[in-house]
């Protein structure tokens, strides 16, 4: 069981949260201009890093707010949570 630090409610068990996949995937500026392959890339293709991964989470059984988290895919350790819409923080610059 992960303990996830909701930015509004503090540490809560993972079962209270919903997962929203990779963060910072922007909706295409003009979807009609895309080829099928580019559209498929947007819809279905996601990064699969070994290490830090920026993800979207929603505290569905609590405050019902979306936020972003950087989780290490090897250790499940969540290094940082930050507001939805904020740019991805640079973890190399300290806590």
């Amino acid at each position: 069981m992960l303990i996830i630090d909701c930015p509004h409610c503090g540490p809560r068990p993972e079962t209270e949260f919903g997962y929203g996949g990779q963060a910072h995937v922007a909706y295409p500026e003009d979807p009609h201009a895309l080829t099928d392959e580019q559209w498929a890339q947007y819809l279905f293709y996601r990064d699969n890093p070994k290490g830090d991964y920026a993800e979207r989470w929603v505290h569905s059984a609590g405050c019902r707010k979306w936020f972003n988290a950087i989780r290490d895919t090897r250790t499940y350790e969540i290094a940082r949570v930050y507001a939805a819409g904020e740019p991805r923080p640079d973890l190399s610059k300290g806590a």
Binding site: C9, P13, C63, R64, K65
Partner: protein
């Protein structure tokens, strides 16, 4: 909503039933009789489980329903004009952080619970005790918000309130609630939205040994039976 046109008769033997004071007002005269009769017709989500709750309770922990509490949901950005107006109209202010309850932290009177940074739940006693209908209260609060950004909705029928009390009440809750309910983390006057096993509820500590669990109406039977099951070893 006015009720002067309502002519519903009180049901047979309804006086003094689930609503507590609901049926006792039936002797009043004039327009009040109509409203009192309406209140006497209400059925709370755990009404049919009252006997089960009594039988399942003991000296160490006991469970009962507090039916028909007035509940109004408030949406307003913190520090915005609407939240200031609401805080003034409520008379007890708005809570500012997770867990905080503004006003009557023991649940006797008007209390405002923090649900999310911009969502709050105002709780007041049953209309049968206060004489103020949820619609009227929500209307007053809505008027206070005016044209400002925000929302006020009567959600009294959304959740019911179960009260779990006794020296073993916390032990029963801790079986199913994963958050820290120890007094150092969860003192009297704390309320949070969380999961009780897999059911979303509000858990509100109204006294050292008194807890309110507020499930959605349709989950009430399940939550009552779940809590009774957890109480069995202490009763």
């Amino acid at each position: 909503m006015t009720d002067s046109t309502l002519t519903i008769e009180a049901p047979e033997g309804a006086a003094g039933s689930a609503g507590g004071a609901g049926g006792t007002n039936a002797s009043a005269s004039g327009a009040d009789v109509g409203r009192a009769a309406v209140l006497a017709h209400r059925r709370s989500p755990a009404q049919d489980l009252a006997d089960e709750m009594t039988q399942g309770s003991g000296q160490a922990v006991w469970l009962r329903e507090l039916p028909f509490l007035t509940q109004v949901t408030l949406r307003a950005q913190p520090d915005g004009p609407s939240s200031e107006a609401l805080a003034g109209a409520l008379g007890v202010g708005l809570p500012t952080r997770v867990g905080e309850v503004a006003g009557a932290i023991d649940g006797i009177g008007v209390a405002v619970l923090w649900l999310s940074p911009d969502e709050f739940l105002a709780v007041a006693p049953d209309e049968a005790q206060t004489g103020v209908s949820p619609e009227a209260w929500a209307g007053r609060l809505s008027t206070a918000v005016g044209a400002g950004p925000g929302q006020v909705v009567d959600v009294s029928a959304n959740r019911t309130t179960l009260e779990l009390s006794g020296p073993r009440a916390r032990s029963v809750l801790e079986k199913s609630c994963e958050i820290d309910l120890h007094p150092r983390a969860f003192p009297v006057g704390t309320a949070v939205v969380t999961l009780l096993e897999s059911t979303g509820v509000i858990v509100w500590r109204t006294g050292e040994e008194t807890w309110r669990v507020m499930p959605r109406a349709s989950f009430t039977t399940h939550v009552v039976r779940w809590l009774l099951d957890g109480m069995r070893e202490y009763c």
